[in-house]
């Protein structure tokens, strides 16, 4: 599904990704761990098509070079990024945003756009699965949401848009214990043979709930170690010092 070869990314003269290789197949769960500033969010941004990066190397998504696709085209083709810091958009009703988003994606995929009633029914269902109070949906997008509420809202959007590749950037940070379980359940219930996940996290506790097939350690813009789920457990104990 995703094939990254020798990826390099530079922004504002800062060389961040320095030859990164990664392959993800449908149905797989990959975890990326690594010290602060190692380039994890940068990788997520480069994959989802954020402007401003000078990029070398190759990223293929289902055989197509990503460099040819705009941010929204990538989203429409099933790449989803749960932001480390979800944005607030004042004045924009959460429901309006979600509906606009879903219909943009549906339209691009050649599906019928949903009318308001159908949409509301759907979103209510998805929200209740995540224990999100309906009241949030009529508030301004992320405005005044607590850190954890914002993160849950990201997972709600993931479940709504049904992406093929979901990149979660520290979605577990800032979640309380119950919310962590809800988010993890949300991810697990969305796991399937077709869907893949790239989960960026600092903590093993998320990986206790969502069992990764691979754990990668990113350091200084490169993947320096790859292992199975046990690598996460080991890192939790020893830290990065003896591998970095």
């Amino acid at each position: 599904m995703l094939n990254i070869k020798n990826l390099q990314a530079t922004i504002d003269n800062k060389h961040i990704l320095r030859g990164l290789n990664l392959n993800i197949k449908p149905g797989e769960v990959h975890a990326i761990m690594g010290p602060n500033g190692s380039g994890k969010s940068t990788l997520a941004n480069v994959l989802s098509g954020k402007n401003g990066y000078d990029i070398k190397g190759e990223i293929k998504y289902n055989g197509v070079s990503l460099s040819k696709l705009s941010t929204e085209e990538r989203a429409q083709k099933g790449i989803f990024l749960a932001f480390q810091y979800p944005l607030e958009i004042p004045g924009v009703n959460t429901n309006t945003f979600l509906k606009t988003s879903l219909n943009s994606v549906r339209k691009a995929q050649g599906e019928k756009e949903l009318d308001t009633l159908t949409f509301l029914k759907l979103i209510k269902e998805k929200a209740s699965e995540l224990g999100i109070d309906e009241k949030f949906l009529s508030r301004q997008l992320n405005v005044g949401f607590s850190g954890g509420e914002k993160k849950k809202n990201e997972i709600l959007q993931m479940k709504l848009l049904q992406p093929k590749l979901s990149i979660l950037d520290e979605t577990d940070s800032g979640l309380d214990i119950d919310a962590l379980r809800i988010v993890a359940d949300g991810v697990n219930s969305y796991k399937s043979k077709e869907n893949a996940f790239l989960i960026i996290t600092h903590y093993q506790r998320l990986l206790d709930y969502i069992k990764p097939d691979y754990v990668h350690v990113l350091s200084n813009g490169r993947i320096i170690k790859t292992g199975d789920a046990d690598l996460g457990v080991q890192l939790e104990k020893t830290g990065y010092s003896n591998i970095v």
Binding site: A75, L87, I89, V92, S104, V105
Partner: protein, 478 residues
């Protein structure tokens, strides 16, 4: 303009002209022109005298030049001050009698009168060029004693009301453009709501500049008698053309004791092309008097069109406990310029005013909020709250805020907040990541920015206004 030209000018959705033979006044501004207008409208002598008084006053007034957007000198002798569709000089009794071409024009504008009658319960006093050609729903209103007609008709049928209130809010000698309007105004709307009556529908007018070289001098007068309520909508679009056109309307509102007037505008006159050629000069005087105690006047405007927009819908808060509100969205793109805001003059005790202004600039445009809040010494315990937000798109546009504040008594408070922000790249990225393209994203964010104002509009207008906001900013980012 030929069809061929129109095809090349597809950017402006409403850019078309209707080919209707015109009756025109003599060219230029003169006593003869004024007599011609008054005569063709069969006006009584007092009205002609009123116009001439204004004209004489005009001779000693100077065109103001303190505004930010400058414009080439207007040759007032090169304009026509009256032009009417011929088919309307014999007033039609029903829609069937209206020139099919005019009806077609409305259809292009999305105002099918027949449909509107049936569907949305709006009484439409449609102004085609300078003369009202169709008025609907009159019967229903008449039953309640509500008068909704053209100002020309009101001069004939309700002279006492017109004499009493015309010029009572905007005096004849107020300022250059207001005085010019008083001398040569052609038509507009008149509304009178009798005591303790709630107008059962939104009243609305669609304006349209049609004939080439015709200045538009609309005159609107709305009176809400004691304990009454009315919501009035004004919307306009104009056809494509190259010459600049002057639009100097006067709108006067009077609210008596416990009365409320809500006046909403969506202004979408032709803004000129991407290079700044052509477009309407929209120099409008709008003023409301909260004359009675507990009265309220609320202005809401969405200004997206015109080459230059220059207007300050104002409230004079005379009655004790009266309330004035001003909600504004001004969008300028390409080479458009706006200098707009409001004046809130507090005279009565416990008077309150609220100003919410959202200015959006894109391209090479310039957007100025200019406002006056004046609390006079007798207006004890009065309050004003002002919030001015500016949103910039790109690096070549400008936003300016110039609030004038005069508080003459210690028991009153004036609060002013202002922000200027650039459209946020991270927000755009977030929207794009959710599948929205650049234009959808901009539209969403900007509509969010304007929300407090948009939600003041009546439903049927809000949707149109949201679309307009998006259309006006197309191509401004990315």
């Amino acid at each position: 303009m030929k069809t061929e030209d129109l095809k090349n000018n597809k950017e402006y959705k409403y850019g078309f002209t209707t080919d209707v033979e015109n009756i025109r006044s003599p060219k230029g501004l003169s006593e003869e022109t004024i007599r011609f207008i008054s005569n063709i409208k069969k006006e009584p002598k007092w009205m002609l005298d009123w116009r001439l008084k204004a004209y004489n006053r005009l001779k000693v007034l100077k065109e103001p030049d303190w505004q930010k957007p400058k414009y080439p000198k207007i040759d007032y002798q090169d304009l026509y001050y009256y032009s009417a569709p011929k088919s309307a000089s014999d007033k039609p009794k029903s829609l069937d009698e209206i020139d099919p071409k005019i009806l077609e024009t409305y259809k292009k504008l999305g105002i099918p009168l027949v449909e509107q009658k049936r569907l949305n319960g709006i009484a439409v006093d449609a102004v085609f060029d300078s003369v009202s050609v169709a008025t609907t729903f009159k019967d229903e209103l008449t039953k309640k004693g509500i008068i909704f007609c053209s100002i020309s008709e009101a001069i004939q049928k309700h002279p006492d009301l017109v004499k009493k209130y015309l010029g009572s809010v905007i005096p004849i000698s107020d300022h250059y453009f207001a005085t010019l309007n008083s001398a040569v105004f052609t038509d507009g709307s008149f509304v009178y709501i009798p005591p303790n009556t709630k107008c059962p529908m939104e009243l609305s007018t669609y304006f349209r500049i049609n004939a080439s070289e015709t200045g538009q001098f609309e005159r609107t007068l709305i009176i809400a008698d004691k304990g009454s309520y009315v919501s009035y909508l004004e919307g306009c679009t104009a056809p494509m053309r190259d010459e600049n056109q002057l639009h100097a309307a006067n709108v006067e509102l009077v609210a008596l004791d416990d009365a409320e007037i809500k006046y909403s505008t969506v202004q979408n006159w032709y803004p000129g092309d991407e290079k700044g050629v052509g477009g309407i000069y929209n120099f409008v005087t709008k003023r409301g008097a909260c004359r009675g105690k507990n009265s309220k006047i609320s202005w809401t405007q969405v200004e997206t069109g015109s080459a230059i927009t220059w207007k300050y819908p104002s409230c004079i808060l005379q009655g004790d406990n009266s309330v004035g509100e001003f909600y504004s969205i001004a969008i300028t793109n390409n080479f458009q310029k706006a200098d707009t805001g409001t004046k809130m003059i507090h005279l009565g005790k416990n008077t309150k005013s609220k100003i919410i202004s959202k200015g959006i600039s894109a391209g090479n445009a310039d957007n100025m909020y200019r406002g006056l809040v004046e609390i006079k010494n007798k207006a004890i315990n009065s309050r004003n709250y002002t919030q001015c937000d500016s949103l910039l798109m790109g690096n070549k546009c400008g936003a300016h805020t110039t609030p004038y504040i005069k508080n003459n008594n210690a028991t009153s408070t004036i609060e002013h907040e202002a922000t200027t922000t650039k459209i946020n790249e991270e927000q755009l990225y977030y929207c794009n990541q959710r599948g929205l393209d650049q234009e959808e994203a901009v539209s969403l964010i900007v509509n969010g920015f304007c929300k407090e104002v948009l939600q003041q509009l009546p439903m049927e207008f809000a949707v149109e206004a949201q679309k307009l906001v998006a259309i006006s900013l197309e191509g401004s980012v990315g």
